[in-house]
Symmetry: C2
């Protein structure tokens, strides 16, 4: 199941949940599908309005994201910044975490197999049935550290 392209899995999951298709959600799905890293709702809205893509009202952006999150298609990323970020939940190979520059707000993805091993071994020794994990490294990016 996770081999199918994300956007297809998404449409499928939505259909399975008895949802009807709509242009706003389709536009959000398509934009999310092109993104490497987490966006805020506002960034999403602007990206959709700015380009040729279909404009989507802010309320719909939030509703759609919330909805996709509930279906496990999107996950929220908390970076310590004012706004929450969202990104698609992708195949294990693309699983990543985030670097946040506290100076300029830049957010970058990274991944590290050793870290994942540590997390997964840890997850079995902890009093919680772990379903997901989020790791954020804070610091200064190259420009800000200079």
């Amino acid at each position: 199941m996770s081999e199918a392209p994300w956007i297809e899995r998404a449409e499928q999951a939505l259909a399975a949940a008895g949802r009807k298709r709509g242009g706003a959600r389709r536009a959000v799905l398509e934009l999310l599908d092109t993104q490497r890293c987490a966006l805020t709702a506002l960034e999403l809205e602007d990206a959709l309005r700015g380009r040729s893509e279909r404009a989507v009202s802010r309320a719909s952006v939030y509703r759609i994201l919330q909805d996709l999150e509930g279906l496990g298609l999107v996950q929220r990323v908390e970076t310590g910044q004012a706004m929450v970020r969202f990104e698609r939940v992708c195949a294990p190979e693309e699983h990543h975490h985030h670097l946040v520059c506290d100076g300029c707000g830049l957010v970058m993805p990274f991944s590290d197999p050793a870290l994942e091993r540590a997390i997964s071994s840890l997850s079995e020794r902890v009093p919680l049935k772990v379903s997901e994990h989020e790791i954020v490294l804070h610091g200064s990016c190259r420009d800000c550290a200079a």
Copy 2:
């Protein structure tokens, strides 16, 4: 420096920063000092109001926390819940991360040396001068999983 009790270091750092002492902040410091894990501003306010402790207005709670965060005495913890949490920054031996039950909102601390090693080795290979990291495991606690 990190061998001194946290509350003393805090008072010291505040004095060094040219701050004057005050009852509200003192009460917040004392409460934070007794806590094992992160609290929300509201929980702090309630704890101070409820008990015999000195009541502190919500605005002051936030201002004090923000202030302490700026001095590196307190850190914020984002758990994906509505409110941000705060806890004192303690000695390395007490360094920990958080387990969050998405069912009931329970937040528990945990620590894992292997994980810390993975993080610190990773921190040197990443395009960010890492100053801190935050790890949150989400899942279901024993009661909620049952």
